[in-house]
Structure formats: C-alpha cells, structure tokens
C-alpha cells in the first residue's frame, strides 16, 4: 500500500499539482464569483430591468400611497416630518437587493439546465467553493443593484454623507449575502427553472412584505410583529433604513423607527450578526447539498 491511498504498482504522477486544499478552494471561489460578475456585466439589460420593479414601487408607493398617508407620516412628531417616499426609499433599496439576490441564485438552476454546472462540479476543487462563489457572486450583484439606487437620494429628499454611504455598504452586502446564500441553498436542490421560480415567488413576497420595508413594524398587530421578527430580511432592512435616513432625521426619530426585540431597539451591529448567522446557516446547507454525491 503506497502513501495517499494510490494503488500499488501504479505510480501517481508527481509533476501534477495537487489541486485540493485551501488554495484550490479559494481559487475556485474566485473564479466562480468572477464568472458571475462577467456574465452580469455582459447582460446589462438584465441589470437595468432588475431596477425597474423597485423603481415602480418607489414611484407608485411613494407618490400614490404617500399622498393618502401623507398626514399620518409627516404629521407624526416622532417621525420628524418624514415623508412616506423617504420612508419607503430604503425599503425599496432592500427590495432591489432581495430580488436580485434571489435572481442571482437562479443562475445555478440555469447552469444545471444548460450543462455548465457539470463543468464546475467535476473540477478538482472542493464543492464548497461552488456554493460560496455563487453566494458571493449573487451578493455582489445584489449589492450593486442596491447601491445604484443611492443616486435617487436627492430626488427623494434624502440627505447622504460619505460616512453613511461607507457604513451602508457592508450592511447592504450582508443583506445581499444572506439572501444570496438562501437562494443558493434552495437552488442547490432544484432541477427545474419553473420549480425554482414557484418556490421563490412563494418566499420572496412574504419576506419582502413582512420585513418592514413598506411600513414600520412598530405599530402592527401582534401576529405580524412576530412574523416580521422571524423574517431575516427585517434585520437587513432596519439598519439600512436607519443609516440611509441618519443624516436626514434627528437621532431619536431614527431610533423610533428601529426594529425592537423585547421592547429594546436592536443595535445595528447585532442585527448584522443575526443576518450573518442566518447567511452562514444557509450557506452551510448549500455547501452540504453540493458536496453530496450519489
């Protein structure tokens, strides 16, 4: 019995580089991520269309719903004269992230259907690299989609300073990563595009509506307050809103919008940690699914 379990009498090729190990995994993550971004860049039409839906929500809800809610919102002393459009703007940013993260994960199902996934799965790298690379690729695209919406801030009347933009980026990324990892976990077992779309539509809307993106979770019925706090997206939406509106509103007005747990306003760092933990669990499921071999 020779070393490394190779079969005695057949000399393993020594000149060949060992592909496994951490270096191989990192290389795999990088190239899977890079390819996703290359495709994203090639397909700019998709990126633009992906922004249409959030913009629609912003215009329709901001202008339409905003005018009928106007009194309720700007009249509220605690909200510090916040308009509905200003309130819903970070929510729409979160929505852009949510939708494109899920859409990004669909590329796994797409790759499976068109055969390219096989090329990745037979490569001599740990398959965790596929799940991680896909999650990071989807997250990067989703974050870009969210960041692009920042240019609308002056139109909505939201003040932004460099500090809050820089602070916003990691939070956008964490939300994008958690949702992308969730998409990967689901897509890793899906073999049909239709199946994935059905599951995703079924999941995406409740996740979006219950996340506090369209209305604050501060004054809702108990059952919704509970569901909203079970929705991982809430823990991404809330810090995004508090950071985006941070320069526009006084501090206590921002805090009054904050997501509470047991009557305590959650620190944004803790929210990020909750979201990261969720993302890590989802990624773990994705990795486990990819590693399985029949």
């Amino acid at each position: 019995m020779s070393t490394q379990g190779s079969i005695a009498g057949v000399a393993p090729v020594t000149s060949r580089q060992r592909q496994g190990g951490l270096a191989g995994t990192l290389r795999g993550i990088y190239i899977v991520w890079y390819r996703d971004l290359l495709r994203y860049w090639r397909d700019r039409v998709r990126a633009v269309v992906g922004l249409a839906q959030p913009l629609l929500f912003l215009v329709v809800f901001g202008a339409g719903l905003g005018s009928s809610l106007g009194g309720a919102f700007s009249g509220n002393a605690a909200s510090g004269g916040l308009s509905y459009a200003q309130f819903v703007y970070p929510g729409v940013m979160g929505m852009a992230v949510l939708f494109s993260a899920i859409f990004g994960a669909m590329s796994i199902v797409w790759d499976r259907e068109f055969g390219f996934l096989k090329e990745i799965l037979v490569a001599p790298i740990d398959r965790s690299a596929v799940a991680i690379g896909k999650a990071l690729g989807g997250a990067t695209q989703a974050m870009i989609q969210g960041v692009v919406l920042l240019v609308l801030a002056p139109i909505i009347g939201v003040k932004l300073d460099l500090g809050s933009v820089l602070l916003l980026l990691p939070f956008l990324f964490i939300l994008a990563f958690a949702l992308s990892a969730m998409g990967v976990a689901l897509a890793s077992r899906m073999t049909s595009m239709q199946g994935f779309q059905i599951v995703m539509n079924f999941l995406m809307m409740p996740l979006f509506f219950l996340s506090g993106s369209l209305f604050p979770l501060t004054n809702v019925p108990d059952w919704m307050a509970v569901l909203g706090r079970l929705d991982p997206v809430s823990y991404g939406m809330d810090p995004i809103r508090r950071i985006v509106l941070g320069a526009t509103l006084p501090a206590d007005a921002v805090n009054s919008l904050g997501l509470t747990l047991f009557d305590q306003v959650l620190p944004i760092g803790l929210e990020a940690a909750i979201l990261l933990a969720f993302g890590a669990v989802m990624l773990g499921i994705g990795v486990w699914n990819f590693r399985r071999r029949e």
Binding site: S6, P12, V13, P124
Partner: protein
C-alpha cells in the same frame, strides 16, 4: 485494492463495479482495464449502463460496490486526484454560451489550477489544435454544434490530462464533422499520448477504437479489439466466381477443409481470415478466378450474436428522440 493490479501500464482499472439506483441495478459488476495511450470504446445501446459507468470513473457517482482506479487513484477515496488527472467531454454541451471561447478556457484553466505562467500558452495551443484560434474571442452562442464540440475537446485537454473521457462525442453531428472530430482525437493520441475512453452507440465509431467493450444490460458481454470481436462471429465471408465453380468448390473442400456453398452463380465461403485466404485460393486454384471479394462481419453482427438484439433498436427510443430534439433545438439558438 490489491486485487485491482492487473498490468503496470493500466490507466483505468475496474473490478466488480456495481451501481444500483433504488431497486434498479444499472451496472452489474464490471471488470475492465484500459491501457495507457489506447482508444477504448464503450459500445452499447442507451440504458445499457455506459453513462453510469463513465460517471463512476469520473467520480460523479459513487459505486455501490466494487473498485475503480483512474491514473492510479481510487475513484471513491480520492476524487479530487482523479479529477485533476482526467479531462471530460460530456454528452450534452457544458459550455457557458454567454462567454467567449477564450473565457470558457480561462475559467477551466483557473479552476484546474493550470499555473498562471502556462495558462496563456496552453489556451493558445489547444485552440490551435482544434482550429478555433480565429474564433477565440467570439461568444460561444454563435458557434455551430461541431465548433462547440471541438471547443469542449480543447477544454478537456487544457490541463494535460492522462485520460480524456468522451461520452458520445459525436452524437448529433453530421458525418463530415464527425470525421473531423475523429481526426482531432487521433492527433491527440499520437501527439500527446493521452488515453481516450469513449462511449458510443455508433458502430463505425467503435471501429476506430483500439479495443471495445460491448455492454448490455449493465454487463460487459465482450471485450477486445474490433477484429477480435468480429472473429467471434466466425471470420470473414468470401464470395468468388470462377470459370468452373463446381471444380473450384471441390478444390476448396479438399485443400482448405472448408465448406463453400453455391449462391446465385458464385461461391460463398466462411473463412477465418479472408486476407490470408484469398491469395492462396487464387494461387492454388486450377480454374481461373474471375472475381473475388471478402467482407468482414460488422460489429452489428457481433452485437446481435452476443445479445440477441440489434443495437439500433434501442438507439432511437423515445427518450433519445427527445434528447436529440432538445440538442438540435439548442444548437439552433
């Protein structure tokens, strides 16, 4: 594992390879060894277990029982070592159609750990080999089926594998493109000494292989060179016409111990080796031979004899038709 040692130059060794999916036994105890540098064909109808076997050897499936090693590595225990030693050309296209040919190759070079210094040179070499250098920066979606297949072969060779697995490499391609692909494959073997392991259900393609395993119902029913396999049917059939067939027939019976039959003005005789028989016959016959021809039994005859059914019956089942349609449809896009 020690039982798996057959020959020092065997690059693929399988012993008692078995794969069951639930109650279905797809592969029933396959034994084979493939020598370094040979073109080894796996011939059988769809559903015979060809793809399952190739998937086990490529570490995409785990064997239920038995062992297999490729390039010295156990497929179950060291999948990553096997994977870096093999190249794969799948039955269905596996290129990223939205990227260029070069980008597809770059992805492959990177994920297979081809050193950065060699990447550019290797990519240029394999593109040259399949004559796609001038299309390197075109989006793959614009390629014809044959060009895609060539690019996949180039990609499979990019990381200088010891064994190149090809699952139905010419399926759905027109005859001219198929000949082209075969020319590349022979060149690969000659110039790089790579071992080629391919599955096929085309008989003419199987003829090109050094050795063939005929698989049916999850078992290997015969293994050998094409001529060895065809010899199992009983040699060549020689058809001849002479100035005096009756005399010639007598002489053949007397001198060769064979039994010619008169058939429509000519004589037919089954011989072990037609190429050796014909010159002797012409030399020794006392009557002038006016025409003579020999035809070898085809692999179709062999398959029929061994399995009791023709390979082509199943070659175009409903499932296959669907696949062909999907392939053609995809190719048109």
């Amino acid at each position: 594992m020690t039982a798996a040692i057959h020959e020092a130059d065997a690059v693929i060794i399988a012993t008692g390879l078995t794969k069951t999916f639930g109650a279905i036994e797809a592969v029933k105890g396959i034994d084979l060894d493939v020598r370094r540098g040979e073109i080894f064909g796996f011939l059988g109808p769809n559903g015979a277990g060809k793809s399952t076997t190739i998937n086990i050897l490529c570490t995409l499936l785990r064997p239920t029982a038995g062992h297999a090693s490729v390039a010295g590595w156990d497929v179950a225990g060291h999948p990553d070592d096997v994977r870096s030693a093999i190249g794969l050309v799948f039955q269905d296209p596996s290129l990223d159609a939205q990227l260029t040919a070069r980008e597809n190759l770059q992805f492959h070079a990177f994920i297979y750990g081809v050193p950065a210094a060699e990447r550019r040179r290797r990519i240029a070499e394999v593109l040259e080999m399949v004559e796609l250098t001038d299309r390197a920066d075109s989006i793959v979606m614009t390629f014809s089926g044959g060009m895609k297949r060539r690019l996949e072969i180039a990609r499979g060779m990019l990381h200088t594998p010891e064994v190149l697995f090809l699952d139905e490499p010419t399926i759905g391609l027109d005859p001219q493109t198929r000949r082209h692909i075969w020319a590349y494959l022979r060149k690969l073997r000659e110039e790089h000494g790579v071992t080629l392991f391919m599955t096929t259900h085309y008989m003419d393609e199987a003829e090109e292989c050094d050795r063939i395993a005929i698989i049916d119902g999850g078992q290997i029913v015969a293994l050998g060179t094409p001529s060895e396999l065809k010899a199992m049917v009983g040699g060549d059939v020689v058809t001849l016409a002479t100035a005096d067939n009756a005399t010639a027939a007598d002489e053949i019976r007397r001198n060769f111990g064979l039994d010619p039959v008169a058939d429509n003005g000519s004589l037919r005789v089954e011989v072990a080796d037609g190429a050796e028989f014909i010159p002797r016959l012409v030399r020794e016959a006392s009557v002038p031979v006016t025409s003579v021809s020999a035809h070898r039994p085809s692999l179709d005859d062999v398959f029929l004899k061994l399995t009791g059914h023709a390979i082509r019956d199943e070659a175009a089942g409903a499932n296959d038709m669907m696949k062909m349609w999907a392939r053609a449809h995809r190719g048109r896009r």
